[in-house]
């Protein structure tokens, strides 16, 4: 507050706070705001933990009960009898019962996470900056992680399937095909993740379209040019099979297959 001079000729002295005092006030205010936000954040985290723990317990109980019921009704045998070999093959220890109980357990754990994240979301006010910017990314990043894991597993599975199938089909370019399939799936996964996180906007869609189209075009050109001779030979064989116009021309002889006289079983 400026001191009122008794004499009009006296200098006016204004009590300005020092610079350090202002910095200290600013930091104090910032810390206060941060602690307030953290205090409002902690109950949400706590509710997330409690939700996950409770749902894990519920999942464990449900899976134990379900396992007993399925064992009692001979679920594995019934399923195998109905030709569900693929399910048995994917199941741990060839037991669909084990698969079902594990799916139920992890489903409950996942549900606990969903409930917890909802509680975390509700613990913030709508005007909170953290709620606006952080929470969508927390929820989306979980989905993105799932997408990444699923995409990676799928890419590896498909590339191996194509590689082994190609080699057993005696294709020289099996490895190239396998790599193409792998990178197609990985590119698709990457684009889906970025789109899911909302990063990049239309740039991602455009870039993905160009990249994906480019890979497909490259593959088509490579396979087309690489197998030009095979295609032409195939067409020639097809033409040979057609009835010949010239009756004096020799009939095409079947190509002998080297391993045709082998009997494996």
């Amino acid at each position: 507050m400026p001191q009122v001079p008794t004499n009009i000729y006296d200098p006016v002295v204004v009590a300005h706070p020092s610079l350090w005092h202002q910095v200290g006030d600013s930091l104090s205010d910032s810390m206060h705001r941060s602690f307030v936000k953290l205090a409002s954040f902690l109950p949400g985290v706590l509710s997330l933990l409690i939700a996950v723990l409770i749902m894990t317990g519920v999942g464990a109980l449900l899976s134990v009960a379900l396992r007993r019921i399925l064992v009692k009704i001979n679920f594995d045998e019934r399923l195998n009898r109905n030709n569900n070999a693929s399910l048995s093959d994917f199941s741990p220890a060839h037991s669909p019962t084990l698969l079902v109980t594990r799916v139920v357990f992890w489903g409950c754990v996942l549900l606990g996470f969903v409930i917890g994240i909802s509680a975390l979301d509700a613990s913030f006010s709508n005007s909170s900056q953290v709620s606006i910017f952080l929470l969508p990314y927390v929820a989306h990043s979980i989905g993105a992680l799932f997408l990444l894991a699923a995409g990676t597993i799928l890419a590896r599975f498909l590339s191996r399937s194509v590689l082994i199938g190609g080699v057993n089909a005696k294709l020289q370019y099996a490895r190239f095909l396998s790599l193409g399939v792998k990178w197609l799936v990985l590119t698709l996964t990457g684009a889906m993740i970025l789109d899911h996180l909302g990063i990049g906007g239309t740039i991602i869609e455009l870039a993905f379209g160009i990249l994906f189209g480019g890979i497909v075009l490259t593959l088509a050109l490579a396979v087309g040019l690489g197998s030009r001779d095979i295609v032409s030979r195939s067409l020639e064989r097809s033409a040979d099979r057609l009835p010949t116009i010239d009756p004096n021309s020799p009939a095409p002889r079947p190509t002998p297959t080297p391993a045709s006289n082998l009997r494996h079983f």
């Binding site: 594995d76 599975f157 590689l163 057993n168 079983f265």
Partner: protein
């Protein structure tokens, strides 16, 4: 054949259950094949009462032996077009044996009419009077037939279960009543698995049954239900590996202690040298492309062996028996550990098997009898068994 005997043989008796004796269970087959099989049976067991059961309608107008008694078709589910003995067929036979008090059973697969009457008689005698519980035929096949059996089924069966039968997955079996009683639980368990294959020799070894091999001569083999080799290898190989996994507690304790069979078969002349160039080229392509996948399953030593093999010229292309045995054992272990998807695993085994086939054919072309090479392969499986047991027990141990 049946028509020529029509005048001499009286009409068979119809569905009069009796106790004791032999029961013959036939697989589903064509009418002509069924008639021929019945005629062979009548000839083989002339003067002996035999109960016959078949899922097909037994011909009433055909002239067959009076010693055959036809039982009504059982309610056993029959797999259409099956080329192997299926668990439901075996279960049906066991049930009928118990129902009619038969002391022995003869289960005959498709195309059984190609077996000689004396062979059927010998098979039945092995369990009726020979004291065996399980009679397994020893077919005489050509040098280029039954290759998967020679490469995998027989060596694994011999090394792991000490079982001598040359065809562990035989199409025809003779069983005593004791064997039927003991094996029925295992067959029932197999029947609950879709497309399950029953391995009679392995089960008999575990049950402590006495197994006898019977010379069976030539036999017409029915064509497999699937023509694709990769699918077939995956089907049979997958079933075999799963069976080995299930019986680990038994074969880890057993040790090879039986002498190898002396081959009494007449060597069959091959008409011309085999063209194995394509097989070798396919292996080289696989060696270039599948090394990454093989490296998940095979140790560096085996990978090095494969690399050396791929560099050999066609006339010198020989897969060492020890290398083949170790690779098969490593694949069985990977099947158990699920190192990679089981379909992929069995697909990755196919080029290695075809490389063994190429090597086998070249060995035969060099003048070595086929049975000698198969016996050498089986002996290698026996000598490498400690490696397998060790890896099975401690799969994470350092394995150069």
């Amino acid at each position: 054949m049946a028509n020529t005997e029509a005048a001499t043989l009286p009409t068979p008796s119809l569905a009069t259950p009796s106790s004791g004796g032999l029961l013959v269970a036939l697989s589903s087959t064509s009418a002509e094949s069924l008639s021929a099989t019945l005629a062979t049976l009548a000839e083989a067991f002339s003067g002996q009462s035999v109960l016959v059961i078949s899922p097909d309608d037994l011909p009433q107008d055909e002239a067959l032996g009076s010693n055959l008694t036809f039982l009504p078709p059982s309610d056993t589910a029959v797999t259409a077009g099956s080329w192997l003995l299926t668990p439901p067929e075996l279960l049906g036979a066991f049930r009928q044996m118990a129902l009619h008090g038969a002391t022995a059973g003869l289960v005959l697969g498709p195309e059984a009419h190609s077996l000689a009457p004396a062979v059927l008689r010998s098979l039945a005698d092995s369990v009726l009077s020979g004291g065996a519980d399980l009679g397994v035929p020893d077919y005489q096949l050509g040098p280029r037939e039954g290759l998967f059996n020679s490469a995998l089924l027989y060596p694994l069966s011999r090394s792991l279960y000490n079982a001598q039968p040359r065809y562990p997955l035989a199409l025809d079996l003779a069983l005593s009543r004791r064997a039927a009683d003991r094996l029925s639980a295992a067959v029932h368990k197999t029947s609950t698995v879709a497309n399950g294959i029953f391995w009679p020799v392995a089960e008999a070894a575990i049950a402590g049954l006495r197994v006898e091999q019977v010379e069976a001569g030539t036999r017409t083999l029915p064509p497999p239900s699937v023509s694709d080799l990769n699918t077939l290898l995956a089907q049979i190989g997958g079933s075999l590996f799963a069976d080995i996994e299930a019986k680990a507690a038994f074969w880890q304790r057993s040790r090879p202690n039986q002498p190898a069979l002396t081959d009494t078969r007449v060597a069959t002349e091959t008409d011309e040298p085999a063209d194995v160039q394509a097989l070798i080229e396919d292996f080289r392509v696989a060696n270039t492309n599948l090394r990454e996948i093989w490296s998940l399953v095979l140790p560096p030593q085996s990978l090095f062996g494969l690399k050396k093999l791929s560099l050999l010229d066609a006339p010198d292309f020989r897969m060492p028996a020890a290398l083949w045995a170790r690779m098969v054992y490593d694949f069985v272990l990977a099947f158990r550990l699920r190192t990679l998807n089981r379909g992929h695993l069995l697909g990755a085994l196919t080029p290695l098997y075809l490389a063994w086939v190429a090597s086998h054919l070249l060995v035969l072309d060099s003048g070595i009898p086929p049975e000698q090479h198969v016996e050498e392969t089986a002996a290698a499986f026996e000598s490498e068994k400690p490696y397998f047991v060790s890896r099975w027990r401690w799969p994470d141990r350092f394995n150069p």
